[in-house]
Amino acid sequence: MPALPIDEATVQRQFDRAGAARWQLEIDVFVAALHASASKAFGGDIPGARELGRYLDSLHAEDLALACACAAGHAAAWEHFVLEFRPVLYRSADAIDPTGGARELADSLYADLYGLTEREGARQSLFRYFHGRSSLATWLRAVLAQRHVDRLRAGRRMEPMPEPEAPSARAAPAAWSNPERTRYVALVRQGLGRALAGLEARDRLRISCYYGQEMTLAQIGRLLGEHEATVSRNLARTRKAIRQDVEQYLRAEAGLTDAAVEECFQSVVDDAGPIDLNEMLAAGDDRKTSGSLRSK
């Protein structure tokens, strides 16, 4: 790891700003945390002193010092963490799963933060992964979100496929017995996949969040730093662009007439079958070759 130009004066200033002395945190430990944080942020680059200074000033220094002190096993810091952040963790768990299913995750996370495992005689606390680029509360919630998602995904992979006669098995609608309709639905799906692939990342992200993850406009706006109305407007624009791309694909590449194009759209209204938007959005390497990029 290349050495970053953090001078002593900067270290002391950050140390004081963080109130690290409150937890009797060793300054060397805090310096190591600053280095780790900056290394993560700048990757392999070595920033200039001013840029590095600005970055360090942007850190949630108090939370970083608290995390360092907890990781080092300082009792006062841990007591403070329990008092201030354990409720945050539990509230987050309850927000994720109001039935209480995520509480177990919160409890296991709590144990990992404390550092029940050891390596070479040193406690391995999860706090070592906190770098102060966010608040400690947000980081805790993100860790919980990550664990929740991974647990769900792992559970999904283990679920058996439904039997053909089971109610959950999706029966092909009667309309699909018409081979043209089946072909039309497939064409629209191909066109949609290509249209989605041609979107700018931000537009694709917006569509995924709204349709795939069912986030609200406000939540998407918070994520992307946009007003709700802007999110709504951009969604409408992107949807229109997708539609036009799909139409162009159906006409130009599939060689369909206008009437057939209309039948295609009508077909998907009736039943387009199970569609994995995320699969479409995470399609393979033959993307980025579709038509216009009308995301502006």
Binding site: A95, A137, Q213, R222, E228, A272, I275, A282
Partner: protein, 358 residues
């Protein structure tokens, strides 16, 4: 021939059928770790890192799911609270005294009925018009619906006893919430205007969380009133819905409605001093309302939900709506004429109480 709008709706139908399940992450580099995800949420990523994160997440089902789980939670501003708490520490005592004095000045003449004892916490907070009117679509609720503002500055509300740290966390949390709720009542007439209503309203839930989680070592000038722990817990749960509650004012300032998640509708006939629950008959989240008369109110919500009352909410009628889209705005002229705005910007108008829509 299919109109463009019909094709758009077909496409939307197609997009909505998509499931949330997805394949393994794409080949766009490693997934975001929790630290990067949190940094993104707290605007701690550099522009370059942000662009890379957006590009990856736009194609990665796993990361999209993580982002969604995180962003669906009300935003936490614990760090900001810490910072504001630190700089406002020295001002807490005189500020608290000043707020209490001003609140008494404003609160006493307005209160004509006692606070509803079944709800020790009164939602009779300051209504603050949105400071950030949406640019589009035009026919939204900006001048009708006023979002519930967030709690007052954290520093002004914090007033724990000096021995707070010795209390068990749960008991402390309840006591803090109770104290905050009581102080909330007393300052309801003097709450400062909200600056970022949309974000702030959602943050109010976590403002409560901060109050519950953060003991203060400073005694406030306003001594809190005691409240039973059970009532405090009930109020805490009740107020967790407050972030999404919206108030709908009528031409009569004493009559207003309050709508929120899960089809929640309440009415007040004393300017918000007390509220009575009304049966909306729906469970969809309600997002906007418009009351052109004290007895007439239109309310809209997710999934094409449109409700209307002509008798001050004694009965709410579900109005048939042609599209199952999320509705975000309504402006009503009277009991038969209203304009509704969908989340995708489309506008629908009725002049026959919702029997037909154009």
């Amino acid at each position: 021939m299919m109109a463009s709008g019909d094709k758009d709706r077909s496409l939307e139908h197609l997009l909505r059928q998509a499931s949330a399940a997805g394949p393994a992450p794409s080949g766009l580099g490693p997934c975001l770790d929790a630290e990067a995800l949190a940094a993104w949420a707290d605007e701690g990523l550099s522009p370059r890192a942000l662009a890379m994160a957006e590009a990856h997440v736009s194609e990665c089902a796993r990361c999209q799911a993580m982002v969604a789980v995180l962003m669906k939670q009300p935003p936490v501003q614990a760090a900001d609270a810490h910072r504001s708490w630190k700089w406002s520490l020295g001002w807490l005592v005189p500020l608290g005294a000043g707020v209490a004095a001003v609140s008494l000045w404003f609160a006493v003449p307005q209160r004509t009925t006692p606070i509803d004892s079944s709800r020790p916490f009164s939602r009779a907070r300051i209504e603050t018009p949105s400071a950030q009117a949406p640019a589009s679509p035009p026919s939204t609720l900006a001048d009708r619906v006023q979002p519930v503002p967030p709690q007052a500055a954290v520093g002004a509300e914090r007033a724990a006893s000096a021995d707070a740290r010795s209390k068990p966390v749960n008991e402390l949390a309840k006591a803090e919430a109770s104290n905050a709720l009581r102080r909330d009542e007393s300052v309801s007439g003097a709450r400062p205007a909200e600056e970022t209503p949309r974000r702030g309203a959602l943050a109010s839930q976590d403002a409560l969380g901060r109050l519950a989680a953060e003991p203060s070592a400073v005694s406030a000038a306003a001594s809190p009133l005691a409240a039973p722990a059970a009532a405090a817990e009930r109020d805490r749960a009740f107020r967790q819905d407050a972030a999404d509650a919206r108030q709908v004012a009528s031409p009569d300032p004493s009559v207003r409605w309050r709508i929120g998640a899960g089809g929640s509708v309440e009415v007040s006939s004393n300017g918000g001093g007390s509220w009575q629950t009304q049966a909306s008959g729906v469970t969809a989240d309600l997002t906007a309302g418009s009351a052109p008369a004290p007895s007439v109110c239109w309310v809209v919500g997710r999934g094409g939900t449109v409700l209307r009352t002509d008798d001050s909410g004694r009965t709410w009628l579900r109005v048939a709506f042609p599209r199952a889209v999320d509705l975000v705005g309504v402006q009503a002229i009277d009991g038969v004429t209203a304009t509704v705005t969908a989340s995708d910007g489309r506008v629908f108008r009725t002049t026959d109480a919702g029997r037909t829509w154009q």
